[in-house]
């Protein structure tokens, strides 16, 4: 399965994402922000970093880049898109995901390991996630506090679009386990069709045991599974 990893000026997790896909044995290619086509990509990863210096708002300028117009068309056609950290912010700014990310409630940049509870295992991003434990991933952000108005929050909860929430090691969703003040401890969401998802934590920095945790791997494995099922369904 071919992954395209977008590259904006000041992206800094693009190589991590490429590596995370390649260790699974799949090809990944970098795609510069001025590209207008995704080529033959089967899935897109919008990586972390500080695209365009985070000027104006995180993700606000990246949203209008040529490559993002191609990503929007790809998502509209049902293509799989995962946004990580700044990538999540970009997808929210682009309107591909509900809500927005604002300044952490304590105004501090958080760089630490956190635990995530998966709320919906029936998606192309979570199907391979272990059911029996909270997954441990790193976060590194200053503006990761998830916000949406009450109607949107109720709707995404009812539809199962809240995929990941911050929790403690035992899986309990508590305020103490919330690193940034996100509403309902939300760390990541999907769109209504479940072909676009984003999260603030970094599965790309947690894809090998050498890095302290390989819990992030299951998110990429889930995407690969979903793509392989699609290919099989097309062939049948």
């Amino acid at each position: 399965m071919r992954f395209a990893v977008l590259q904006f000026p000041a992206s800094n997790c693009d190589q991590d994402c490429v590596h995370a896909v390649r260790v699974l044995g799949h090809p990944a290619e970098l795609l510069w922000h001025k590209e207008t086509s995704l080529g033959s990509a089967d899935a897109v990863i919008v990586p972390g970093g500080f695209s365009y210096g985070d000027y104006l708002r995180c993700g606000a300028i990246a949203r209008f880049s040529p490559v993002m117009q191609a990503v929007k068309r790809f998502a509209d056609e049902g293509g799989l898109v995962l946004g990580i950290c700044n990538g999540f912010q970009i997808l929210c700014e682009a309107g591909l995901l509900p809500g927005a990310l604002v300044r952490n409630r304590d105004l501090r940049f958080h760089c630490e390991q956190i635990y995530l509870r998966t709320d919906n295992f029936g998606t192309p991003f979570t199907s391979r996630t272990p059911r029996d434990k909270a997954i441990m991933l790193p976060i590194a952000h200053g503006e990761g506090c998830y916000f949406a108005d009450p109607a949107t929050l109720a709707s995404i909860q009812a539809k199962g679009q809240v995929l990941w929430r911050y929790c403690d090691a035992s899986g309990a969703v508590t305020d103490a386990a919330n690193p940034n003040g996100s509403l309902l401890n939300i760390a990541g969401v999907a769109n209504e069709r479940f072909n676009v998802a984003g999260l603030m934590p970094h599965p790309d920095r947690a894809s090998e045991a050498l890095l302290g945790t390989d819990d992030g791997r299951s998110i990429f494995e889930s995407m690969v599974d979903a793509l392989q099922q699609r290919t099989a369904a097309k062939a049948a």
């Binding site: 104006l56 708002r57 929210c92 604002v102 952490n104 409630r105 105004l107 506090c145 916000f147 949406a148």
Partner: protein, 81 residues
């Protein structure tokens, strides 16, 4: 001619910056501060001869789509000579 755009966080959105500035004001002895909201100010210089009404329409569109994020922010647009 200039466009002045003031962007403020929506009241429902957590504004830790505003809260911190408010606390600092209180520490400094400024009493009677009931709330502080920290936002952004954008000034756009318009080319000579620009039609004011057309500019207002275009910039309102830009403010809604790009300069502010309606999920978390409100904006106020003013065009001055």
């Amino acid at each position: 001619m200039k466009a002045k755009i003031v962007i403020t966080p929506k009241k429902a959105v957590l504004d830790p910056q505003g809260k911190t500035v408010q606390t600092a004001l209180e520490h400094m002895g400024y009493t009677g501060v009931a709330g502080v909201h920290v936002g952004k100010y954008i000034e756009i210089d318009l080319a000579p001869g620009t039609d004011k009404v057309a500019a207002a329409t275009a910039l309102d569109d830009a403010a809604r789509k790009f300069l502010s994020n309606p999920v978390i922010e409100d904006y106020k647009l003013e065009i001055v000579d």
